[in-house]
């Protein structure tokens, strides 16, 4: 006993205790739910059976129900479009801005920082804001597009099945671009300036310098930013809740929103858990690749 106390005061026990407290917390509130999730995906959990730890067994019924659901294919496709579209465009805009602000001019750092203001806002507020910006009759976006001659009639972004997913996508690109930009800016800043000077002396023009120095030196950062982009996009929920609520007719439903709707709108927690289980596997898989690759980089 005194031994343990002594180790807590002066030895490794102190470290072990600190880690154990945090890991136990995470185990209870993240680890156990992960496992419980798998269990309830095989059970019938509704408002009646809620409240007990164990629910009636459902076998593979929930899984079958999800795969047979006509919405499933659409949701899968919409999830892919939303995720890849967000990541690709956030990255493109983010990289362009990072390159632009990488030039040395007065106030570059400060103005660049302003962009992050969007990023610290609650997702729900961003969603409500874009809900208003994209509104059909009186939305300022439609007005701008019309006065630029890009559209002739107002687009009913949120209520049209053709465009509802893009309404959320546009908001998400706006929301996620600054974070991409700042991570890429850090990567750019880490490239030693004398590399560019050497290349310039060797006769490389700006375009060649970008292809032969910037891109290869940024490979690790770009990989990390793309992986983080996928991970964060798969976490996006608030924008859907605030702009389209998945509608109309499921036309803007993505997997992480569908799972929540099944649980908290239809109170079919078993089916909600099925999607949750499947999506978590995808997210963990992407993160695994990301962590492995960053680890390989830092060991070089």
């Amino acid at each position: 006993m005194t031994r343990i106390l002594r180790s807590l005061r002066d030895g490794i026990g102190f470290d072990v205790l600190l880690v154990i407290i945090a890991l136990s917390y995470l185990l209870v509130f993240a680890g156990l739910p992960l496992i419980y999730n798998v269990i309830i995906s095989f059970q019938t959990v509704d408002v009646f059976s809620l409240g007990t730890l164990w629910h009636p067994n459902a076998g593979f019924d929930n899984y079958r129900a999800i795969f047979d659901d006509p919405l499933a294919g659409r949701v899968l496709w919409q999830t892919i479009v939303f995720t890849l579209g967000s990541v690709a465009l956030q990255f493109t805009f983010g990289f362009a801005l990072a390159l632009f602000f990488h030039q040395n001019f007065t106030g570059a750092t400060w103005i660049r920082g302003l962009f992050l203001a969007a990023w610290v806002m609650p997702g729900l507020v961003v969603g409500v804001l874009w809900n208003w910006l994209l509104s059909g009759d009186f939305g300022v976006i439609n007005h701008l597009l019309e006065s630029l001659g890009l559209i002739e009639d107002p687009v009913f972004w949120r209520s049209n099945v053709e465009t509802s997913l893009y309404a959320v996508l546009i908001a998400n690109i706006w929301y996620g671009t600054p974070f991409n930009m700042i991570l890429l800016a850090v990567g750019l800043a880490a490239i030693p300036g004398d590399l560019y000077e050497a290349a310039e002396l060797d006769g490389a023009n700006a375009f060649q310098r970008f292809w032969t120095i910037t891109l290869p030196m940024m490979r690790a950062t770009i990989g990390a930013v793309l992986a983080l982009g996928i991970i964060f996009t798969l976490q996006q929920f608030d924008l859907f809740a605030a702009i389209t609520q998945g509608g109309p007719a499921g036309s803007s439903t993505v997997a992480q929103y569908w799972s929540w709707q099944l649980s908290f709108r239809e109170f079919d927690f078993g089916r909600g858990a099925v999607i949750s289980v499947l999506m978590i596997i995808v997210v963990l898989f992407v993160s695994l690749i990301y962590v492995r690759s960053t680890k390989a980089e830092t060991q070089l």
């Binding site: 002594r6 002066d10 030895g11």
Partner: protein
Amino acid sequence: MTYQIELDRVEKHYGRFHALKEISLAIPKGQFVALVGPSGCGKSTLLRSIAGLERITSGTLRIAGEPVDDLPPRKRDLAMVFQSYALYPHMSVRDNLTYALRLKGVSRAERARRAEEVAAVIGLETLLDRRPRELSGGQRQRVAMGRAIIRQPRAFLFDEPLSNLDAALRVRMRKEVRALHDRIGATSVYVTHDQIEAMTMADHVVVLQAGRIEQQGTPVALYDRPANRFVAGFIGSPAMNFIPGVIAGDGRAVRLALPGNPMLETTIAGTPGLQVEVGIRPEHMVLGSPDAPDALPLVVNAVETTGAASYLFTEGEPELIVTTEGTATIRAGDTIGVSVDPARVHLFEPETGASLRSASL
């Protein structure tokens, strides 16, 4: 006799890595001991084990006769000066100096008095209210020393405390640290990779290599009677010359593997025909005429001079260094004659590197 610090067959493993091997060392009160060796040999590990910052894997460690293996650093009553100085950046110089006293519960008035006293000793009276980042490298070093002195600990541990200073300041601080040690009658363990620091400062030098003590003794003993090839090559600057040879004649001479296979007399008896490694310090090679009877004829390949001394590098394998006083008139391409006092010739077993002197003594 009880020693101030005593290590008995101390071992340290980091996982599978064996960092300290059978370290036995006894340090009497008042002694200044230097731990010296190439970087990565385990000097810091040994010092940190004494301080209690690392747990030893086996063996015993006593401080003032008391086993301290299970005592945390704070109960060992030792003071340590780090290479980076490790001054607390968020505290003034005064608070840095008195931090340990504060932890001990010494009263505010007493702390203030002792801070003034120590500041006078280390010459920092005017800087007591500054933060560490407002001090120069040398001043920081002094604060680190002061922080150790103020505690009046059972022993001082230094981990390369001068290596971040410029060369001139380092030479000055060498003397100051040693003078301070003598003045307060401390017991000190001083880690350095610089053999000159070890030789000039210490009463007792411990040479470490790959976690093992190669030899320990007074600086002069290590210089005159290195126990093995490693110590012989490590102590002394420029490093000792090594030439392969064979014991010849009646066993009191060696035939060197140099052009012309010259003979060299020694005072060490050996079995004729035995392969040996001959060690001669550059400063023990005396320049003479190439035609003198016992002289080794060597061709000079390059000359370096510091003004006070010149270093002649010879042609061929192995390359030898000869030290001469003043500015040499010899140029590259000249042939020189070198004679060596037989008592200054060292012989080593080629395989183990052990000195043959101990065998013959």
